[in-house]
Amino acid sequence: MFELFSELWSFAFMQRAFVATTVLSASVAPIGAFLVLRRLSLAGEAMAHAITPGVVIGFVVAGLSVTSLLVGGLVAGVVAAALTALLARKTILRSDASLASIYLIALAAGIFILSAAGSAVPLKSFLFGSILGIDDASMMLVGGVATFTLVSFAFLLRPLIISTCDPTFFEAQAKRPWLIEQAFMLLLVLNLLAAFKTLGTLMAVGLMILPATSARYWSSTITGQLGLTFFFALASCWVGLTLSYLFPETPSGPAIVLTAGGFFLISVLLGPLGFGGRWRKPSNQTSRSLAQNSNKERPQ
């Protein structure tokens, strides 16, 4: 095992891959945790698709650079989030239906532009990422986004907890409650862009959602949820990268997300808030599983 890691670490591209995914894990963990807790798991996936046309247009106009990715993706993300909020507030559609409509249009537009651009676009790299070929600029993007995200979370964590757990109470307490939601969506878009280069458009949300849903089966506190989400994300990246190295034909993005899927299955089966809680003999009230308790005691 030690020899394998020595061999892996001897390659500069693998060193970059491990460093980039480690930093990325720290950045996407809190985003993923709150996507799951705020019941926005599918919205995260939709947003990943919604920013595709911006990224593609950025690529077509200015080539495959970090700047084009960031500018194109940010513009598309902000426009999609603003249109979704506008439709949800001013029309009969709810926010999920609004976002679905926007992202489907955006995805189709992205694929249309991608096809029109022809073979100039490295489609496979675009869809699944290219973690093993990550350059300095991409490393800087991941590092910058991670720093911005973690510093932002130091300030946003408490309002996010309250607005997620008890939105009506938060709305009554905060002067501008919508700011928290918009700030969180901005962080989501930034992290999707940071993850695009490493994991690709199809897999970027996988590293956010699967570690967070896995952690949900183990922890009953928000600190535990955040810590475990980071642990599962990091472990998925390291194991996935190793698998991708051992099986050279395997793209790194799917390898990482499949590993995260493996942790999810283990968590479902063994976690105290998953089936693991049902299999254990209930010794006290606190060990009762969520599923056992939620339906019959849910207040009106």
Binding site: I162, D166, R216
Partner: protein, 250 residues
């Protein structure tokens, strides 16, 4: 008794629908106000307006001592996420979150206040339990402890007894009495005519485009309850006959 809030000639509603007009009243310190009304009469809208979440159509709200820094608030639990990974003590501490600063931590004094609030609400023994393991009554007690932590001069409770048993209701009513004795103004949205009204000094009855305010005895009469579509004639007749018979029997 001094007023924490003065309301003058208030009209409330939405651009296409006026719920009521011409309401003038004071929300007094050291008193409990019950708000009653049929569905859609404007109870929750009135609470939203008090919280500053929506503006009145016309009229004036004035705070004699300036707008309070904090308004204690217990919302209906329709949007509360009981699956959120939080312990009871964390939920209670939420009541003082504005005092923490953006990135501050809970100091020793605040932790002691949290423990005291949990003790008063009867949830100290379950302080480390996760929210998803609580019964409806336990959760409501924890939310009352959060209101204690808010330490506000005006407290709004939106249907606080909708999902609790009689024992819990009796315990929580002692907290409401305590808040009133401490000189706070308590506003209580009540869905049913119940013994809860024995703990209220004043009532605001909404419905049929009107808002009537006064003492509980003068406002909650059968004639007015029928006129404002809160009860049908037969319901009022049955309910108040039963009350009269019970009084005569005692």
């Amino acid at each position: 008794m001094s007023a924490v809030l003065e309301i003058r000639n208030l009209a409330l509603g939405y651009s296409e629908l006026t719920l009521f007009r011409g309401l003038s009243m004071d929300v007094e310190r050291g008193s409990t106000l019950a708000i009653l009304g049929a569905n859609g009469s404007g109870k929750s809208t009135f609470v939203k307006m008090l919280l500053g979440l929506m503006a009145p159509l016309s009229g004036k709200l004035s705070w004699p001592d300036g707008p309070p820094k904090e308004i204690g608030y217990l919302a209906q639990m329709t949007e509360f996420d009981r699956r959120f990974p939080l312990r009871v003590r964390d939920l209670v501490a939420m009541g003082a979150w504005k005092g923490f600063g953006l990135a501050g931590r809970l100091d020793r004094e605040t932790s002691a206040k949290v423990a005291s609030a949990m003790d008063a609400a009867g949830v100290l023994d379950i302080a480390d339990r996760s929210l998803h393991t609580l019964s409806g009554g336990q959760l409501q007690r924890a939310l009352f402890a959060r209101v204690i932590m808010q330490d506000a001069p005006l407290i709004l409770l939106d249907e606080p007894f909708a999902a609790v048993d009689q024992t819990t209701e009796a315990h929580l009513l002692t907290l409401i009495d305590r808040w009133r004795d401490e000189g706070r103004a308590v506003v209580l949205v009540v869905h049913d005519l119940s013994s809860v009204l024995d703990h209220c000094d004043n009532a605001l009855l909404l419905g049929n485009g009107e808002a009537c305010h006064g003492s509980v005895d003068t406002i909650l009469t059968p004639e007015r309850l029928v006129a404002q579509n809160y009860l049908s004639k037969s319901q009022a007749s049955w309910m108040f006959r039963a009350a009269r018979e019970e009084a005569a029997h005692v």
